[in-house]
Symmetry: C2
């Protein structure tokens, strides 16, 4: 039977995800590729009680159709959580999404017509590239680590800029205060929307958190028109996936009310609304300050694992890769010293050596960067991390020998 062709974007997807999924079935494999939390951090009993209570005590909120933009109570809790200093938020600034990924899809849906441009921090989060692929945008890479990056030049004429200021996925890099200021200034100067994707904002292991782009932007607007409500260019994306549990699928957008209204129209045709059960669990957990209660244990666990990974890297990899020790987040970005190394090929070879890594090509909209690899340190205990790095060194040497 001859069937109609699939949409053209589907022919452009790569098979790295399939390789990852297949890798999951290899016995004894050490997975440094993903971005998964350690299950031990989840407050299972507290969340089970929240789940029971959500349905038993709030059936109207949890079992019915609920508002497209989210339960008012949850939107209020999030507005309060982020209001500080010059930033005044109400529920008009907040919408709930089905995980952080949906927010990326919706931003693309409301802003991108065919051919439109995105100024994206490079390298960029694979999930964001996935979300926007069906709209075939043009990418203008912003290499924020370069001394001569022209941020306003990248943003002029783009629909939006995409950044992960806190411990970027994939590089783990923290965008410094001056560059945060420069990003907000460029948004103000060009009119470009500025997406601040912040899944790792709570995961600072070494120092005090830097101000969010959202906070910096709010400080610019003391005389905001809408009774003090935030109406600046930043579209802030938050999630409970790293602070509480990814299975909740609860994310949120904080933005100017006109953007929230547009995103709500887009969400109506995407999944109509986010499960009231998940929203009510999230609301209860935030009201009880569950994320704040478990955060010290999360930080302690992940800090130790970062140290273990980096110690193993210092032992096994210094002649093969360059990297910086990240001060937060979930990843280390290792760039091969020899430009001939192809990490797409290394990923495949790594599987033979019992280790799975993420190649840099998947974080490049053009798929051309083959020189680096993203290494995750949150999922595995220290001994496995060390063994994984030993295997990576072995696989890299084998790959280099075959060049």
């Amino acid at each position: 039977m001859h069937r109609p062709a699939f949409a053209s974007w589907l022919s452009q997807t790569n098979d790295v995800t399939q390789t990852f999924l297949a890798a999951g079935r290899i016995p004894g494999l050490i997975n440094l590729a993903g971005g998964l939390p350690d299950p031990s951090v989840w407050p299972v009993a507290a969340l089970a009680e929240q789940a029971r209570s959500a349905v038993a005590d709030h059936p109207g909120d949890t079992l019915a159709y609920s508002p497209i933009d989210g339960l008012p109570g949850l939107r209020d809790v999030i507005a309060r959580r982020f209001s500080r200093g010059g930033l005044r938020l109400t529920r008009e600034n907040v919408m709930i999404t089905t995980g952080g990924m949906q927010a990326l899809d919706l931003v693309g849906k409301v802003l991108l017509d065919p051919g439109d441009a995105i100024a994206a921090q490079a390298p960029a989060y694979l999930g964001a590239l996935d979300a926007w692929m069906p709209r075939a945008p043009a990418y203008r890479p912003m290499r924020l680590e370069a001394n001569d990056v022209d941020i306003a030049g990248c943003m002029a004429g783009a629909k939006f800029a995409y950044t992960v200021p806190n411990f970027s996925n994939p590089t783990g890099r923290l965008v410094g205060h001056d560059q945060r200021r420069a990003l907000v200034d460029a948004a103000n100067a060009t009119g470009c929307w500025l997406v601040e994707d912040d899944p790792y904002g709570a995961l600072y292991y070494d120092g005090a958190p830097l101000p969010r782009l959202l906070d910096i932007s709010a400080g610019d607007r003391p005389d905001s028109s809408q009774e003090g409500l935030y109406d600046g260019p930043v579209i802030y994306l938050g999630t409970l996936s790293k602070e509480l549990a990814p299975g909740l699928r609860i994310g949120w957008v904080i933005a100017a009310p006109e953007m929230i209204t547009a995103l709500t129209t887009a969400k109506q045709g995407s999944d109509m609304f986010t499960s009231g059960i998940c929203q009510r669990i999230a609301q209860g957990a935030l009201e009880d300050r569950l994320p704040e209660q478990i955060l010290p244990d999360i930080l302690s666990l992940y800090r130790d694992r970062r140290d273990a990974l980096c110690a193993a890297m210092a032992e096994h990899l210094p002649d093969l890769y360059d990297w910086e020790v990240p001060s937060g987040g979930m990843f280390v970005w290792a760039v091969a010293r020899d430009a001939r190394l192809d990490t797409d090929r290394l990923m495949t070879r790594g599987l033979d050596h019992g280790v799975c890594i993420s190649p840099s090509s998947v974080f490049d909209p053009e798929g051309r960067d083959r020189r680096a690899t993203r290494l995750n340190f949150t999922l595995n205990p220290p001994d496995k991390l060390a063994e994984g790095i030993r295997r990576l060194a072995e696989a890299t040497r084998a790959e280099m020998a075959a060049l």
Copy 2:
């Protein structure tokens, strides 16, 4: 501040939804416009226990990242539930979606390039039109009630056909057996995919259910190649929103494995996966046969309400509208006898008379049909339905007098 323009499709949305939302705040208004279930049918205590147990007993399924296409256990339950006669399904034929709405979004995402055509049963579900609007498809209306409808002619060259065979939203019409056969034959002859959207398939009030398009299609393929797995043209969309509770946001697609694979790629960039908490609750509820347990009460309640609405219509509306009594579903479709009546205007006037209805324009991709209205009978008790119809008659006469 000059901001970039929103994507062009956003300028085409109508304000009917905003009118509905505003209507919700009018005291004493009787809402015949929506498609909401009666909250009394929800098995709250059983679902609360499922929610607690889902998290407490299955934290790996519920709190972690889980597979894009759904929890294997839930996919297996659904495959078993629909396997009958010639239809053999495994989890390879099933993916879980975040409510039925997401399935519509994903079907558009994997099949529609700009300018592609959809052969759509007319009038069509508003939510489907919403889901596909960002892709700006061309519509070929299939008026299945017309004697001379050329189904294969509509489907030839279209990417897919869209149908709601069981008690269409908005018309409440049941597509008969011969036309079901004709739809499947046309799909086989043209190669066109055939979407069977079936939210109301359990809500037969008067007779035995007709075979699904999926069942008819499976009967055509006894010697299917993939070890008997279904690989025909039907893309079946199911949901627990009407049989259990919309707040769960659990829907599913049953289709050929190649379509499930494409939809899974599209879901990855949409919301990554559906909440494991909701999926595990759904799996437990299906294993315990909760939908089957509550169905007799749902049918009895909604049958009485359909009868009450239609009795009130027979008393107040026969000189103003034509309609058929539906044998299932949630809606009656009333067509004005006088072609000059504009139900967009009637909707607004109805609010002054304390009743809210859905105008036919929102179910027409072109927005041109202004002659009919969709009336819901599941949300309100019989006395309110009767009063709502009395108000509708009053508003219609006032609108006619103003012509």
